[in-house]
């Protein structure tokens, strides 16, 4: 067991593992037919002005799921139901549009609020199961993703199916229900993400509930005895986690897709966990890491189009990076001594 390691050394360990993970990823891509130099030029291409717009659009939901994962992780709740919460965020937002609730001017606000509520309710279901029946939240959140997905399919193949095209997706959102660009190639979805970063930063660093959160994660038994409202604080933080994921669903539906599709939440569990992990649950760092993962996503899409690399490759790279960082955690906590 190591005692306290200085923050700089810890960062160095994480950094070294990250480089190690990236090196493996580059090697795999090279084996799949993309030489490192091509990769570098593609990466550079992603950062040009016109592609940057796509990156920023992609960054918004990634930052939001990163925040969602990190809030829950901070309190020791392993929320792997990010996709389910995104799906319900999207469904709640789409319901506002489909049932034409409220005036045009407040429509987006209503949709966003509904999405946050939908995501929060879906994760609170697990909190209830955990408190009442001691159901493990890792399994419950993960499996409820499938329940959410099939409920979405049920809607898209049934009541909400697009009548004009008969495709299994909802009718398109009306123009005033879309998240538009606000100039400089920036989509308003990104503003939601930035607002989320600031709100999460406030919640965990300044607010009373954030103070409680630190005690609950540092020593839950002690927290209860000294009068921290453990239950209440936990429920609020987890609800906030679900709300962030719900908003991510809303952003995808209302900006990229423009309608409820089958796949707007696909693959975000992994990305959310990765981002929270890499940024050590710090909101500001999440914004940066979310952007970098967006670059990876967009590069992956380009490679998919021009080099026929399957998109699962991107997910594999994510997985390699998660494992590399997770193992750095082991090295931070333990000292390795070679015997013989």
């Amino acid at each position: 067991m190591r005692q306290d390691l200085s923050p700089w050394k810890q960062a160095a360990f994480v950094g070294a593992s990250l480089i190690f993970g990236l090196a493996i990823s580059i090697a795999i891509l090279a084996a799949a037919g993309i030489p490192p130099l091509t990769l570098a030029s593609e990466l550079a291409g992603v950062l040009t002005a016109e592609n940057l717009r796509g990156v920023l659009v992609q960054a918004a939901p990634l930052i939001l799921v990163g925040l969602g994962a990190s809030l829950a992780f901070r309190i020791g709740f392993w929320n792997l139901g990010i996709e389910g919460q995104m799906i319900f965020g999207g469904i709640f937002a789409a319901a506002i549009s489909i049932y034409d609730v409220g005036p045009q001017a407040t429509r987006l606000l209503l949709m966003g609020s509904a999405a946050a509520l939908g995501g929060a309710l879906w994760v609170l279901l697990v909190v209830f199961l955990k408190n009442r029946f001691r159901v493990n939240e890792i399994i419950a959140t993960l499996l409820l993703n499938y329940v959410a997905m099939y409920f979405l399919f049920h809607l898209l193949y049934g009541a909400w199916q697009d009548a004009k095209t008969a495709f299994p997706q909802s009718s398109p959102l009306r123009p005033f229900e879309r998240l538009r660009d606000i100039g400089f190639g920036i989509n308003s979805g990104l503003l939601i993400a930035i607002a989320g970063v600031l709100a999460a930063g406030w919640l965990i660093h300044l607010s009373r509930i954030g103070f409680y959160t630190r005690f609950i994660s540092a020593n839950p038994r002690m927290a209860k005895i000294v009068g921290v409202p453990v239950q209440t604080a936990t429920v609020w933080i987890i609800a906030a986690s679900g709300a962030c994921c719900g908003l991510a669903g809303f952003v995808n539906v209302a900006s990229q897709e423009g309608r409820l599709t089958q796949s707007y939440a696909n693959g975000y569990v992994f990305s959310g966990v990765l981002i929270a992990f890499l940024s050590r649950n710090d909101p500001i760092v999440i914004a940066v890491v979310g952007f970098l993962i967006a670059v990876l996503f967009i590069t992956g899409q380009t490679l998919q189009v021009f080099y026929q690399i399957p998109f699962t490759m991107v997910q594999m790279i994510e997985a390699i990076i998660v494992m590399a960082v997770a193992s750095s955690e082991f090295l931070i906590r333990h000292r390795i001594r070679w015997l013989r």
Binding site: R208, F211, F215, I225, G227
Partner: protein, 500 residues
């Protein structure tokens, strides 16, 4: 003939607190030698020195008359010293043979485990034990696990066998069976050291006994030649002069514990109809041999566990034994738990936050939206000064960096800042040096003078005797006797062991 094991003038301190103060010990091959003393007398520490786990600050160790230095447990094993600890050191998912192999490394695994199996079977048949080398530890009872520990040590070739409180976890029948086997081992030439606080075991099975008190060896005698009273007196010591203070006025009852019962997760009944009351301005001491339900009583009082039945009634509040957190907070019980880093402090968080946490809800440090960090830090600095918490470079430093005594002062600073009506203190001076201990006692007396009702649960009889207005003796989860101040030390000592 030279003694099998001889320890002379052993001194050992932890964080400035002296655990062993020139203790000596001597035992012969072929005898069961009991090491008797209260909790914290230094028995286990002394034997950990003999087993190579603690390096003594001073003193010498000899085996069969030859002085040796022990660099660690492996060195002790080479000198054929083996210790069975109170808390077993077994790997649960491994089999018996694998555990024994782990403690007695062999050059090759496959042939090693065969040799080990044969060695285990030999020991098992000699000792008439009933353990199968291929069984997994987690399928075995506590008594069987203990047999594994003993076999593990004997397979290593131990000729000096130290057993630390071996009967604490056993039923009476199991304990008798074990001690008979231990006696047989001694007859076959092993030097057995039996660390215990149970007089009956000593009287029945030991050939000689060494008594320790306060880190010192106070006597060595033949248990068959001495009476139980004599042994008790040597163990608990002479009554010391009690400090002066105002006599107890006899206020109204503040706290009433009625028929409290608690069954642990594994089905063991830890509290059995525990009943007592505490008046305002009174310190009620609870004495007893550790493991008789004191820890559970303290946990029930501070709300760490929920009792199975019974009540904890507070004046003006009502029953809080199963009350919500909000109601408990209203009751403002000051909790000074024995295990500071489990129940009282978050070691990885700053000192200032650890002090502020209990008062966040009152709004003292700002509302829900924003906490007043400056006020938190300022109050923390004041509390650190008022309560003389040493070793604080900044109130932003982690609480875990404080030494035991200063961490305890930190807990007391927080708990007493609310002017509590009821104080629950469990072994409040455990691990503290004399100065810190006196400071803690002063705070308790001051709270008493202010009219608080104080429950003092302690395994240190001196602490209970010097502070308490009334003393309840706890045994097997119940209060078995109550004594008014000034209490008779010997009578309390008898009440503690007669039921244990």
């Amino acid at each position: 003939m030279a003694s099998a094991l001889q320890l002379v003038g052993i001194r050992k301190s932890f964080d400035g607190a002296l655990a062993l103060d020139g203790a000596s010990f001597e035992s012969q091959a072929g005898e069961v030698h009991a090491l008797l003393g209260e909790n914290g007398a230094g028995k286990s520490s002394l034997m950990n020195v003999a087993a190579g786990l603690y390096a003594p600050d001073a003193g010498s160790i000899s085996i069969h008359g030859v002085p040796i230095a022990l660099s660690g447990p492996a060195a002790a094993r080479q000198h054929r010293i083996g210790m069975v600890h109170q808390h077993f050191k077994l790997v649960k998912p491994f089999t018996v043979a694998e555990n024994v192999l782990l403690a007695n490394p062999q050059p090759h695994f496959a042939s090693g485990i065969r040799n080990i199996r044969a060695a285990i079977e030999k020991q098992v048949s000699e000792l008439k034990f009933s353990i199968d080398p291929n069984r997994r530890i987690d399928t075995m009872t506590v008594a069987e696990q203990q047999q594994v520990e003993i076999v593990k040590v004997l397979v290593g070739g131990a000729r000096i066998l130290i057993l630390d409180e071996p009967t604490a976890v056993l039923t009476d029948a199991e304990a008798t069976g074990l001690l008979e086997i231990v006696q047989r081992l001694a007859r076959a030439g092993t030097a057995v050291v039996l660390v215990t606080h149970k007089l009956q075991d000593v009287k029945r099975f030991a050939d000689s006994v060494t008594i320790m008190r306060g880190g010192k060896t106070v006597a060595k005698l033949d248990p068959r030649q001495s009476s139980a009273e004599e042994l008790t007196e040597l163990t608990v010591g002479q009554t010391s002069a009690l400090p002066e203070r105002t006599p107890h006025q006899g206020g109204p009852t503040r706290l009433n514990v009625g028929a409290l019962t608690y069954t642990r997760g594994d089905g063991r009944v830890m509290l059995k109809n525990t009943s007592f009351h505490v008046r305002a301005g009174e310190i009620y001491g609870i004495a007893g041999v550790s493991g008789n339900g004191q820890a559970e009583l303290a946990e029930a009082l501070i709300g760490a566990i929920e009792p199975s039945s019974g009540e904890i009634w507070l004046d003006g509040i009502g029953d809080i034994s199963r009350a919500s957190q909000a109601k408990r907070r209203e009751a403002a019980i000051a909790a000074i738990p024995a295990d500071r880093y489990t129940y009282a402090l978050a070691g990885s968080l700053p000192i200032s936050d650890n002090l502020a946490v209990a008062q966040i809800r009152s709004g003292r440090y700002g509302g829900v939206i924003k906490l007043d960090r400056a006020a938190i830090r300022q109050d923390a600095a004041t509390a650190v000064k008022d309560y003389d918490v040493q070793g604080v470079r900044s109130v932003g430093q982690k609480a875990s960096l404080l030494s035991g005594g200063n961490a305890q002062k930190l807990v007391i600073a927080r708990e007493f800042s609310r002017n509590p009506n009821v104080v629950v203190a469990h072994s409040p001076s455990r691990g503290l040096d004399v100065r810190a201990c006196a400071a803690v006692h002063q705070r308790l007396i001051a709270a008493r003078e202010r009219g608080a009702a104080i429950v003092l649960i302690s395994e240190d009889l001196d602490e209970v005797l010097s502070l308490s207005d009334r003393i309840g003796v706890m045994s097997r989860g119940a209060i078995v006797g109550e004594f008014e101040r000034p209490a008779d030390r010997q009578a309390i000592g008898r009440a503690m062991v007669d039921h244990g």
